[in-house]
């Protein structure tokens, strides 16, 4: 596994922050010029774009911050999984990544390019979503199946699901799955125009929540067949996944939460598990009025007795296309370390619902973790990670 987020530049750093309840949300914005820098809180990765290039040895022109974050997490993941150069270039190694910003992080540069400033053409080839994975593919000479998906905030959950299915279908024997997004004027202004950005640190599942904080980062995980793992460490298994559409509204969830309910239910069915088997839910929990209420109702609809649940958005902010991959790493840590991490900033349950998320770091016996991701366009995906016996 590899991860870079507002709470750390490695799995170990992220883990330490989760244990210590140390948030990464600050009124920053130093790495993307915006009138909201220093005014709105963000989950910002505290390393400059040029410094990232130097650290990663990236010298080619046209590599965006989104791609650099992806490469950082990708490098940690393949080193952790001890993948060799031969394995990376083998025809049975696939790369499936997700992003919602891609090269669109370069708002001003794109504007300049499309309005006739022909001097500034470094990024014209990297404006799309695929540019992130195509760079990684070229850098490492990956020849197997390569794919990029964008289903808004559930993008990297779908990348993880797709990776599993590539292995099951025999199209790949190992798949590097994940996602990356960087803070950008584009998304900051989009969510701000929708009036769902909080001017304070987000408070998922709290009665007085004011909206979400955007974050940036990336995470990749290496999926391999159990038979191929040999003496390498197995953190966990992806035991189930469910994908459904809410079919209600372009940017909000239905009051009944059909999409979230079906995604969770389909994930349970695919894992062959019952609701009672789930020990913990890593909730989508963005801190918006709409999501937290609908997600709560959908969880209550599916689970007779709701297991422990928490959102980690109070640590990292909402990392959009990378959120599910980052939270997949956290869900795997729940299992690997047998512990739960707090839902930060919670004070008062939502009236009429009354649910309380986990609020402190604790040791717990965890076998099965469900991780939820719900996106614009009603694109809902839930994953289940399980302890390998």
């Amino acid at each position: 596994m590899g991860v870079i987020s507002a709470i750390g530049h490695s799995v170990d750093e992220n883990h330490a922050a989760l244990v210590n309840g140390k948030t990464g949300i600050i009124k920053g914005g130093g790495n993307f010029p915006s009138r909201y820098s220093g005014i709105l809180p963000f989950g910002e990765v505290l390393i400059g774009t040029e410094e990232l290039k130097t650290k990663l040895g990236v010298t080619e022109p046209g590599v965006t911050r989104t791609t650099l974050l992806a490469l950082h997490a990708f490098n940690e993941a393949i080193a952790d999984a001890k993948l060799t150069q031969n394995q990376l270039t083998a025809a049975d190694t696939a790369l499936v990544g997700a992003t919602t910003v891609g090269g669109m992080c370069l708002t001003d540069e794109l504007y300049a390019n499309t309005h006739g400033d022909a001097e500034n053409i470094e990024y014209v080839k990297s404006f799309d979503y695929a540019s992130v994975n195509l760079y990684i593919q070229t850098r490492y000479g990956i020849t197997g199946v390569i794919n990029t998906m964008n289903t808004a905030c559930s993008s990297s959950a779908n990348a993880i699901m797709y990776g599993c299915r590539l292995i099951k279908s025999g199209l790949a024997n190992r798949v590097i799955v994940g996602g990356a997004d960087s803070l950008a004027k584009f998304t900051v202004n989009g969510f701000n125009a929708l009036r769902i950005l909080s001017d304070e640190a987000c408070t998922p599942f709290d009665q007085n929540r004011k909206g979400l904080n955007l974050g940036e980062g990336a995470a990749f995980l290496v999926l391999e067949k159990e038979a191929d793992v040999a003496d390498k460490k197995i953190y966990a298994e992806v035991s189930g996944y469910g994908n459904a559409n809410d079919a209600y509204h372009p940017s909000s969830l239905s009051p009944e939460g059909d999409g979230p309910y079906l995604a969770m239910k389909n994930a349970l069915d695919s894992a062959g598990l019952k609701p009672v088997d789930i020990d913990f839910i890593n909730a989508h929990g963005t801190g918006t009025e709409n999501n937290d209420e609908v997600e709560s109702r959908a969880m209550l609809r599916l689970f007779n007795a709701l297991p422990d649940f928490a959102s980690t958005k109070g640590f990292t902010g909402h990392v959009l296309g990378a959120a599910s991959a980052i939270e997949a790493v956290y869900s795997v840590l729940n299992i690997d370390r047998q512990e739960l991490y707090p839902n930060l900033n919670f004070k008062e349950p939502i009236s009429g619902i009354g649910l309380q998320p986990v609020q402190a770091h604790s040791v717990a016996a965890i076998k099965h973790v469900m991780s939820n991701s719900f996106g614009f366009g009603g694109n809902c995906t839930s994953l289940i990670f399980s302890k390998v016996q």
């Binding site: 915006s34 009138r35 909201y36 919602t100 669109m104 708002t107 794109l110 504007y111 390019n113 499309t114 022909a118 053409i121 014209v124 080839k125 404006f127 799309d128 979503y129 695929a130 994975n133 195509l134 593919q137 199946v145 390569i146 794919n147 990029t148 998906m149 964008n150 289903t151 808004a152 779908n158 797709y162 299915r165 590539l166 279908s169 025999g170 199209l171 004027k185 584009f186 900051v188 202004n189 989009g190 701000n192 125009a193 929708l194 994908n243 459904a244 559409n245 809410d246 079919a247 209600y248 509204h249 372009p250 940017s251 059909d258 999409g259 079906l262 614009f376 366009g377 009603g378 694109n379």
Partner: protein
């Protein structure tokens, strides 16, 4: 393994490919180096909804909905697109700069995400099933095809809506022109194959397919698909040879090649090398003068191939590059490359 049957297909393209009076014999000309989709009236969308939709959502949903009318709900909606919604994204980027990040309206931001097509189709048809959008540039549609093929292995009795959509927007046209992918000098689509310069003509379209494992009443079978990432002509040649050996039975030949030749001198060596794999038996036809170059243009080729093997359309003279000895077109091989590095091959056959 990577195989399924195509039952119905629709296509909104720069040619007369949609509705009751399909006519591909008449070639509609390009305008200012662009081939714009001929849009129908869209009776399904009400006034406000239509005005809010991006063009890619309009043509995508507009092509999909007739396939869904009066039919059982598909078990999933799987769309390939590079950057659908780019026009809306562009509007939003312009707002950000011109209004200095203040007092913005979110409409274009929401409509600008590429999963808007699959989610709008789901919303309009109340489909809560599997829903996914692949955006891997020149292989976005191929990855959607692979997704559907895997789904049909996982759920053999299901049916899916599969589509490929992209639009010409001011933003992506300008960016791709700056990057050298579209011709800078005036060129008509009817002359594009004799061009000796870099770049192609810009195009757009939406092709939709209802697919499943049921052979009965199928119009065509997608027998196999492969994707290749390389800028090396020899690597591509070797991989395609292997693909043919694995997927054409002994003594079986490709009757027709449908290639994505696009008038860009940098991609021509790949197409020439591909053509050279086949003897005089095989006819060679081209399609990019009809739809233009766009990242999911292979979906237009698949629409063509389905209609040719099923006998719904004949291959018009303007498509023919080389007339072969084959008398009927039962096995069609589609080869396409986008921006030189991404390649795909699909084998389409008459169901037997």
């Amino acid at each position: 393994m990577m195989s399924f049957y195509i039952h119905k297909t629709t296509c909104i393209s720069p040619q007369q490919t949609f509705g009751d009076n399909i006519d591909i014999a008449t070639l509609h000309p390009s305008v200012d180096n662009k081939l714009y989709a001929i849009e129908p009236a869209y009776p399904q969308f009400k006034g406000n909804a239509l005005r809010r939709m991006s063009k890619s959502t309009r043509i995508g949903a507009g092509a999909a909905l007739p396939l869904l009318a009066g039919a059982p709900q598909p078990d999933g909606i799987i769309i390939g697109t590079q950057v659908s919604g780019m026009e809306e994204n562009g509007k939003f980027l312009n707002q950000i700069i011109e209004y200095n990040e203040d007092m913005l309206t979110p409409g274009s931001f929401v409509q600008g995400t590429p999963n808007t097509i699959s989610s709008q189709i789901a919303l309009i048809s109340n489909n809560k099933n599997y829903n996914l959008t692949h955006v891997h540039r020149g292989l976005a549609f191929e990855n959607a095809v692979i997704d559907v093929a895997m789904l049909l292995n996982e759920n053999p009795r299901s049916n899916y809506l599969l589509g490929g959509v992209d639009e010409i927007s001011f933003n992506n046209y300008t960016l791709d022109t700056l990057a050298g992918w579209f011709k800078k000098e005036d060129c008509l689509n009817s002359d594009m194959y004799s061009s000796t310069t870099d770049g192609s003509l810009s195009g757009e379209g939406a092709a939709m397919f209802i697919v499943g494992n049921d052979k009965q009443n199928a119009m065509a079978q997608l027998k196999a698909i492969t994707t290749i990432h390389s800028a090396d002509v020899e690597v591509i040649k070797t991989r395609i040879k292997k693909f043919l050996e694995e997927n054409l039975a002994d003594g079986e030949k490709a009757d027709l090649l449908l290639t994505g030749e696009n008038g860009d001198k940098r991609s021509l060596p790949f197409y020439t090398s591909f053509d050279s794999l086949f003897d005089n038996y095989t006819s060679i036809a081209r399609f990019k003068h009809m739809c233009g170059e766009y990242p999911t243009a292979s979906s237009f080729a698949l629409w063509l191939a389905c209609n040719v093997v099923s006998g719904a359309v004949n291959v018009p003279q303007h498509m023919i590059k080389r007339k072969g000895e084959a008398t009927g077109f039962k096995n069609i091989l589609i080869y396409n490359t986008h921006k030189v590095g991404q390649h795909s091959c699909m084998l389409v056959s008459l169901p037997v």
